[in-house]
Amino acid sequence: MPLENSWLFPVIESIHVIGLAAFVGTVVLGDLRTLGLVRAAPPSLTRWTHSGLAIMLVTGAIMFFADTARYLHNPAFQVKIALLVAALIVHFALRRSGTRLAALLSLTLWTTVVLAARAIADFDV
């Protein structure tokens, strides 16, 4: 049975969402702290951030390769990947500078990545 029709697919989707909570949750927390909107946040979030990111990339790749045709022709997926590339560049190149601009960019990009990702199911052709 192909993966996209198996019960494993929603399970992998769920693990992707759990990774999202760890990754985007801690990134947002760090960015809001940089922007001064959250006064207190623990100094070291990177362990959660990187575990979450690893989980997301692995489960995301599994889902993509389970049904490449579905995703490649999906406009929401195309937008998501473009935003994801930009977000990852900001995350690894700019964000460690600790500037408010980097934090703002990171917040905006990750938010729109999630919005576009959620829209994939609505744009199936």
Binding site: E13, V17, L20, A21, V24, A40, A41, P42, L45, R118
Partner: protein
Amino acid sequence: MFNPLLELSRWLQDTPLRLELSQSTWAVPIIGAMHVLAIAWFGGSVLVNDPRLRRFRWIGLSILLLTGALLFWSQPVRLYYSQFFRLKMLLMVLIGASALLPARHARWAMPFSLALWVGVILASRGIAYR
């Protein structure tokens, strides 16, 4: 037999808001996306588990519950009959109950509630299918 939950679902089904939500192109996708963002917001602050983040956590939880209620409102009768939705609600009741436990149980309440949240996310994904 009178079934209050089914009656409530049917009543919500006939409200003008349900019609608006289910007929709009953008309402449910946008509310759904906000729901997922709130999972990140709330889940992230739970994992970090810093008492100073309490207010931040409550904001995330409020957005999660509010958008969740609207998503339910968009198709109440289908969700009433969904097995995974029932499982999700059951798990959430257990989470609520575990939050009421006295503080001396805090050491195992945290992993217990995290496991329940994992179950909630798994059940939620299932709703899209059945």
